[in-house]
Amino acid sequence: MEVAAAAALGKLIGAGLAAIGSGVAAIGIGHVAGNYLAGALRNPSAAASQTAMLFIGIAFAEALGIFAFLVSLLLMFAV
C-alpha cells in the first residue's frame, strides 16, 4: 500500500519536474527570437527573407521542450 502511494506521489513529482523542461525550451525560443530581432534591426532589408528560418529555429528549439511535456503527460496519464 505504501509502495503504491509512494509511486503515485513520485509520478506527480516527476511530472512536475519534467515540466521544468518546458520552461527551459521557453528560454531557447526567446533566444532564437531575440537574436532574430537583433539581426533584423541591424539589417532590416534582410529580415523578411529570414522569417522562415526564424520559425524553423523556433520549431526545433520547441521540439525538445515538447519531449519534456511528453514525459510529463506520460507520467500523469500513462505510467
Binding site: A52, I56, E62, A63, I66, F69
Partner: protein, 253 residues
Amino acid sequence: MADATQGPSGLQIHPMDQFVVSPLFGGGEGDVAFYTITNVTLWMALAVLATLLLLVWGMRNRAIIPGRLQSMAELTYGFVYSMVEDVSGKEGIRYFPYIMTLFMFIIMANVLSLIPMSFATTSHIAVTAVLALAVFLAVTVLGFVLNGTKFFGLFWVASAPLILRPILAVIEVISYFVRPVSHSIRLAGNIMAGHAVLKVFAGFAGVLGIGSILPIVAITAIYALEVLVAVIQAYVFTILTCVYLKDALHPAH
C-alpha cells in the same frame, strides 16, 4: 484524472473535460468504435467544409478585381506557394497540392476550435499523429524513390571530420525517426495547452463572484494569443513539412 479536485474550493469544471470524445448520436463517452460519428468527426468535417467554402465558393466568380473572400483565397494560395518554393525549392512545387491541403485543414481546424463550445480536433495526438506520420512516410518513400541509396547521405554528414561521422550518423538517425513525434505533438500540445489554460481561467471566473472580471480580462487576452498560436502552429507544421520535403529531394548535407 478521475480523482481531480472536486472539493468546495476546487474548480467547477475540469480543464481537460473539453477534450472528451463522445458520439453524436446516442451512446456514452467510451462508446466509440472506428466508424462512430463523434464530435471529432463533426468538427473535422466542418474544417473541410470551411476550406471548401473559402477556396471553391470564394473563387466562384474568378473576378479580375477580387472581392474580400477571393482576396483571402488568393493570398492564402500565394502564401503557401511561395513558402513551398522558398523552402523546398523548384522541385518541391510538384508536391504543393498536398502541402496546401495540410495547411488549409490544420488552420481551419485550429481556428474553428476557437469558437466557444466547439471541439479542438487538432488537440488530439491521434489526429495530428496521422497527419505527421503521413508526411513522414511520404517523405521517406519519396526520398528513396528519387535518390535510391543516396538518400542515406542524409545521415552521413560529409562535411564533418571522419572520426565524428559515425557518431553523427547515429544522432541523425535518431533525430530522423523522432521527427513525426515532435511534428505531431508540437501541434497537439500547443492547441491542447492553450485550450486547457482558457478553461482553467474560466474555472477561476466561476468561483470568484464579482472579482471574476479579472479572469475574464485574462481570458480575452489569452484568447487573442490563442488565435495567433492557431495560425502560427499551422504555419510551423506546414513549413516543417517543406523542410522534410527538401531533405528528401536533396539528401546530401
